[in-house]
Symmetry: C2
Subunit: 344 residues, 2 copies
């Protein structure tokens, strides 16, 4: 058992760590009497023929050894220890790590993280005047989880294009709209594609008065809230029809670990394909990097690599994620692996 897994999971017992075996049995017995039966340490001492101080020490040892595991099982539960560790290690301004205790499906975990993001946004003080948002499955969930009146009069700006080529109805703009509506604020949407075929087209679209106005607003937003996507067939950009699975596979070969506001980045946090990036409409990553409040919402097993890319390269100041991702971020072995994979 690593100290890490203890930090995250609350600790699976692994025998023979710091305790003499007869003390170990006593500790188990004491823990049963204390936590299950609710006896006092004094009573337990009488039963086990030891002093109450020894009982206290055994209980403390039982907790550190992982014999006694205390878990907070609730959809809104957070992992405070993991939060502190990740925050400190990557120098974040703030962090929320949602607990996966008791989740039965990846979807449920995703929802929990979305809820955590909504809670974070609701509690954010001072509330931002203007908030730049991206779109996607995660952002959609965040918008859904936000309570009506989460803020008052926030200007919500869509920071990257997201008109779906495959589905009818603009779910990308809808996300920004919902977030704005629930804060009794105004939305500024970008009803344009995420990626265009030619750089020239992208340039001319950006010159459009209305579009340029929104992009300018986006560039001056006080805070950003965005998610990240996987680099794979499940990418939202593949589902929306902007990229083929072959194209994404090509990006992966170039080292892509996922996309952030429509731009595919490598482990170094920079776009892996300059040409593709030049055809992508939306806020440049530099702007997010320079922001004082860049809130990244990243959940799920497939996003560990992109989460790492975000936090190691200053692409977010606030991270909202799940405990498994947090564990991956704290796991040095996994870090080495990513690096070696990139090297190879």
């Amino acid at each position: 058992m690593t100290a890490l897994s203890l930090l995250i999971s609350g600790g699976l017992f692994y025998p023979g760590e710091h305790m003499n075996s007869s003390d170990e049995l006593l500790a188990v017995r004491a823990a049963e009497l204390y936590y299950d039966e609710g006896r006092t340490q004094d009573e337990i001492g009488a039963v086990l023929h030891i002093t109450r101080w020894k009982v206290g020490r055994l209980l403390a040892q039982a907790r550190t050894a992982g014999i006694v595991r205390i878990e907070i099982v609730h959809p809104r539960a957070r992992r405070v220890l993991a939060e502190q560790a990740v925050k400190k290690r990557y120098g974040l301004n703030d962090i929320v790590v949602a607990s996966s205790a008791g989740v039965s499906s990846p979807d449920e975990l995703q929802r929990r993280v979305a809820q955590a993001a909504a809670d974070y946004l609701t509690g954010l003080r001072p509330a931002p005047q203007t908030l730049g948002v991206s779109w996607g499955r995660t952002m959609h969930d965040v918008a859904a989880c936000l309570p009506r009146g989460w803020a008052h009069g926030v200007g919500v700006v869509q920071i990257n294009g997201g008109l779906s080529l495959t589905k009818t109805g603009d779910t990308a703009s809808a996300t920004a709209l919902v977030i704005a509506q629930k804060a009794a604020g105004s939305a500024h949407v970008l009803p344009i594609p995420a990626i265009l075929e030619h750089t020239a087209t992208k340039r001319s679209i950006e010159r459009d008065r209305a579009i340029a106005g929104v992009l300018d607003r986006a560039a001056h937003a006080e805070a950003y809230l965005f998610s990240a996507g996987v680099a794979g067939d499940d990418s939202a950009l593949v589902h929306s029809g902007y990229l083929s699975t072959a194209e994404v596979a090509g990006l992966v070969r170039k080292g892509a670990v996922g996309d952030v506001v429509g731009r595919f980045i490598g482990a170094d946090g920079a776009p892996v394909d300059a040409e593709l990036d030049s055809r992508t409409v939306g806020l440049p990553l530099e702007r997010i990097k320079a922001s004082d409040t860049a809130i990244a919402v990243v959940a799920g097993e497939g996003k560990h690599a992109v989460a790492r890319a975000l936090v190691t390269n200053g692409l977010c100041t606030v991270l909202i994620t799940d405990d498994l991702t947090a564990a991956a971020l704290l796991d040095d072995a996994a870090a080495e692996e990513t690096i070696s994979e990139c090297a190879s």
Copy 2:
């Protein structure tokens, strides 16, 4: 969630039970600060802007609601609450319920229960002068788990025949021998078949001077330690070659839920097949029923029904089992089911 599952598993959280939703969130937050961060209730009160008494109440509610789950994860851990519930409900003299927390295989659970039985036997005071034992996979494990010197000079008597027809080496007698050896005592074995083809043969075997002596000793043993087997293809009596799978299937049709010291019983605790029973060598169930100390060791999912038969019919005074079996014994719905199955 039933109160039962809470009792056994330590409680999976099921939202909205006795708490107002804003208190629920406060409780979660308080639990995080208290159990994960180790803050005092006073500090938590300051952070959450509530009094320390409210914090204490929230924490108490969080525990009863199952938001905070405290689990003792250790091979030797017991389930004290479940023990009390089962003991009271079935009027047992004593009980041990081993925890299945963290087990990865049915084998591991079986071993834990065997270990628990060995621990119980070791701690039994006064130690019995003579101990009647059965045989089987479970009993073999119990014998293996017993520490050298678990008692001093106990007479161990095999209470039912168990000469295997399929394997070489008498594992049944070996079990009794090991238990006796480890107590620096003497063993009295029954190197005879468990079930004979004709009642007459059984009678004549019983008349044999040596056999009769052992059986007489068995009948006068101070305590009994035995396991129970499933009524199915996995029965030890099938593996040993005494019964065919077809014969066992026939017994099941007659309502057999399992075997105890070689005798197949129904939910009523009585042999389901009088003829078969008359060909079975060993202590009659009445003797065990009349004993002051009859320790049954029953573990595993397949043995819930036979465990129920044992405890409902006074076939044991002490039960050593796992928490899942205990849960089944406390589950009234399951009880109804068994009864209706028997009726149909």
